[in-house]
Symmetry: C2
Subunit: 145 residues, 2 copies
């Protein structure tokens, strides 16, 4: 199924739905877990080798801006992204083995934004990145040892 039906509003912040962005959003939707831009670009390249990396980067930027895609972590110096349907404030756990992603509640008390304190500091923003093993990989990992 297509996430970008013809003559339909784009699923993310882009203002024009070009064939390139249709492929990119389809490739993004097809991905299961967390992925790097490099990996996404490889998928896209398999569909249309003429699409350049910068186009993928620009599309990713647009998808992030609209919230259709989220940055869920980092690996080997490159950012990891994943589609996320959860609403509201949350974080993600990324499986270090297969890349699967799950949403996680925020461990911080954000009920009163800007009022959280630690040593008198007013915390205005935070980043929480969680990594580990998904249920399946945890089992596979245990069996191997």
């Amino acid at each position: 199924m297509s996430y970008c039906a013809n003559h339909t509003a784009p699923p993310y912040g882009a203002q024009r739905m070009t064939p390139q962005r249709q492929l990119i959003s389809a490739a993004t939707a097809a991905r299961e877990g967390a992925f790097s831009v490099e990996a996404l670009a490889a998928d896209v390249g398999a569909l249309d080798a003429t699409i350049g990396v910068s186009t993928v980067y620009r599309a990713v930027t647009a998808m992030l801006a609209s919230g259709w895609l989220e940055r869920v972590g980092e690996r080997d110096g490159s950012a990891l992204f994943a589609r996320c349907t959860a609403g509201g404030h949350h974080h993600h756990v990324v499986c270090d083995r297969c890349g699967r992603v799950a949403t996680a509640e925020c461990p911080l008390d954000v009920s009163v934004p800007g009022a959280m304190q630690s040593d008198g500091f007013v915390i205005t923003r935070h980043e929480v990145m969680l990594y580990g093993l998904c249920p399946e990989c945890a089992i596979a990992d245990r069996d191997e040892e």
Copy 2:
């Protein structure tokens, strides 16, 4: 005062205490809050302009390895570091305005490492970066508005 008395073991993982590393560790110790390598290199450069950036980077790597210095966040694409005397597992809050740093307790339950779960995931590692305003800057900020 010197953090590297002559003929004394280096305060961090380096194996040889060269004059360059004495200056670098002194400059590091003189810093109050979080700083980037660029900023540290500027301080060091003021003391001895012949010291190259790579030397500073290598010294920072050594300081991190020994735990004498910690990575406390990121800003504008470059890493932020700070000396930290706290022991055990903890995180840091960095003042977005003046760079002051405070230690913060880990908001996650790490009492049973590797057993923390979220959606069945076994969380093996995490990163928590906190940013905000230190008490003084919070007041200054309020007065300005």
